[in-house]
Symmetry: C3
């Protein structure tokens, strides 16, 4: 995953990582320098990766990572070039190590480095309302408009001809040309991702960002969370109605239309030319194909193949739904 | 439809309209002046109208419009006084012509003409919070209160004894006496109406407004979109809980009660004395009678007659729902 | 119920209360002073209480209140120490009497007494954004952060190490240590409670508050209403995703996890270690036990015992749901 925004504090010595995880020396190579923590697919030979579920066996067998946080029962899937670090809970360990590389990606307190847009060079470049605030590492294209009380926090790139509404907050996002984000939205906050823990849950870092491709429109009061280990992506010319919630790591294809109050749970992948009716919900970690229509109010809890119309809770073929509910 | 807010740039010559739609001369009367574009029912003899579905056959037969955008297969329903303009896609053509008459009704970028309320005459008339902004063509009644950071954009009329919360945005709306709009609402934005089009959807104008009648209350975080070719109307003494979404062209009667997170899709008509439970959804283009109760979580996908209690998804008679789910 | 925030204008003579309710003298003791109006359980011998449903018979039999607003058919359940006031509609009468004791608890117009945080002593104590407003009777702990445009209205106590996002509004709330309330939330507004009445509904007072215990997180765009005659309580280490709606009087236990767009209707009680999937809805006045899992999209309309997994609309045992929907 490309990560333009969160500063990598690495490299770290693998010996430091072993120590941090309380793992005894299982390898001679303790002075190796580790550049980054990445997923199985993206890792190269100077990275550490992680492998926590058999689902990813094929990716694990081909990983180029030098080290892999995993379990006793999974370690044999790894290539010999990859040294396993055996832990009790892979994801908790990943969270800890990611926190070392990316300490800024855990908390999402408000950005107190923002300044009034009138104090920036953007004041002569974009049209803006009252009380607009701009953070560090922000770029804005030509012919953009930013409404009243909106806050472009740090780590945001906005293309040309974009319109941001009023009372909207954006951070850690790449927004392409001709995008409209309407009023009262929050884009780029961390997702609802943490390890439940009695008395005090453990938040894990969200080093992903939000990518909104060209010609999209995001309706009022919507929330789009940034990804944890990958990005949240809204494909080009996709339109959202009001009060949509998009969780972390979700990918949506092009030319899709999503009606009011729809929610899409974490890590689901939605195809292109998909139409989702009002108040429908999509469970996490599922895949919706291309050219799919999902009726309003549906609850989709499993994968939907291309070119399918579904409706119901749980969603099924729309003809079956209408027949069963005559 | 009365339209107090969007400036009509007409009249235009019918020859210009023919040219704009790329239609060859089918009539001698090319120098006729056209005042406005209206629906079949509202049009008079200086207007152009449109007719795109057999559903509206009876209205078409009686229209007083001089011209009508329609299709080859529908044109014979029109009276001889009405000259048909045959197009491939009626609604796209209507959108184009409406854009000529009402160019300001397409985009909803933030209103950059607003000024601080302290710079207006309202400063001595209403009670207001910090950072309140007021647009052009706004009127406010006596004894009104406007909360912090709220923005009354252009084209808003507010009656007496009204309360607007904080962080709320209103535009293109007529609000009667004794209405409360609570915090974080967006009222009067254009609806989720456009023609899907690969790579770049085509937004059509929304020349309707939002009308909120007296004694209503609108809960926090709600969104009420203005109409496209008609108005969105909330009848008197109707109460909304938080996080309600009302789409464009919806009409709701009097004395209705709508619980949290309900969504009503475009152009549906809800009667008076209707009670809608939390999270229920109403499909677009349907009609709910008077004295109807809709259980929480229901999904209503067809018309509901007066004096009926329904529940379920799809919603059915509540006795059937409870019996089927024992 | 403890009530730190709403000023009690009492005591009042019982004769005044009789007069206000248009009740004729049924007792010799007309010069007795009444301190407060409370529920059956909390009342002591200088209070007036109310009893409107057989459900509360056992509490009624043990109440210590001197007087009780009730009906002819219920009055015989009261102990002889408690004098019944017979009315036609108990809740309307309670509303009227509560309005006398707590006139400030009916309307929720914006707090026009707030001042810029730079004009308060908090300016040296907390980290804060631009345009932060602080009301009267507010306390803030050490190491707190308050985002841009947020409004801490009157009657709010915030513990140590808390983070309030941007564009968030809080009033009438007790917030413990280590709590995060993210952006665009509204916490502590009155609930959706009123007596429907033709032409003009009758709002009743909400003298409850919102209590958020330590280590909680409240997602963006959420609304948490304060209680009417009791408090709304979020137990410690409970996490909310975005766009959650919690109605008045709801109690939620500890270590619970509530996913995006969930709504919980008034007066329901949710246990500890409960997990609620996205878009699920919980009806009002029901009880969800401890260690319960509620699938995404569910509609829960009756009590759920401890240690149960449910899903569906209406929600049933998850095994039954999955079997019935194969």
């Amino acid at each position: 995953m490309s990560n333009p925004f969160f500063k990598n504090r690495g490299p770290f010595l693998i010996s430091d990582i072993f120590n941090f995880l309380n793992i005894k020396n299982v390898s001679e190579k303790m002075n190796i320098s580790i550049s980054d923590i990445k997923d199985l697919y993206s890792s190269n030979s100077s990275d550490i990766t992680f492998f926590h579920s058999k689902k990813y066996k094929e990716l694990a067998q081909k990983t180029k990572a030098a080290f892999c946080i995993t379990t006793e029962s999974l370690k044999n899937e790894l290539p010999t070039s990859c040294v396993p670090l055996i832990v009790e809970n892979v994801l908790v360990s990943v969270s800890k190590i990611t926190s070392i590389f990316y300490p800024d990606a855990i908390d999402d307190d408000f950005d107190d480095s923002v300044i009034d847009i009138n104090q920036t060079d953007f004041k002569d470049k974009v049209t803006f309302g009252k009380n607009v605030l701009i953070g560090q590492n922000v770029s804005l294209g030509t012919n953009c408009k930013i409404g009243h009380n909106s806050i472009i926090e740090k780590n945001v790139s906005v293309g040309d001809n974009c319109t941001i509404g009023s009372n909207t907050i954006i951070r850690n996002s790449l927004i392409s040309n001709n995008v409209k984000v309407l009023d009262n939205c929050v884009v780029g906050k961390h997702g609802f991702g943490f390890f439940p823990n009695k008395n005090k849950n453990l938040r894990y870092p969200h080093i992903g960002i939000v990518i909104i491709e060209e010609n999209c429109e995001i309706g009022c009061g919507s929330t789009i969370d940034r990804g944890s280990m990958s990005n949240t992506v809204i494909g080009k010319n996709t339109y959202f109605d009001n009060q949509i919630h998009i969780a972390h790591n979700v990918k949506i294809g092009e030319n899709s239309i999503i009606a009011g109050q729809v929610g899409i749970a974490g890590s689901s992948i939605i195809g292109s030319n998909v139409r989702i009716g009002g108040q429908a919900g999509i469970s996490g970690h599922i895949k919706i194909g291309n050219n799919v229509e999902i009726g309003g109010g549906s609850g989709v809890i499993k994968n939907i193949p291309d070119n399918t119309k579904v409706m119901g809770y749980p969603a099924k073929n729309i003809r079956d739904f209408l027949r069963d509910n005559k």
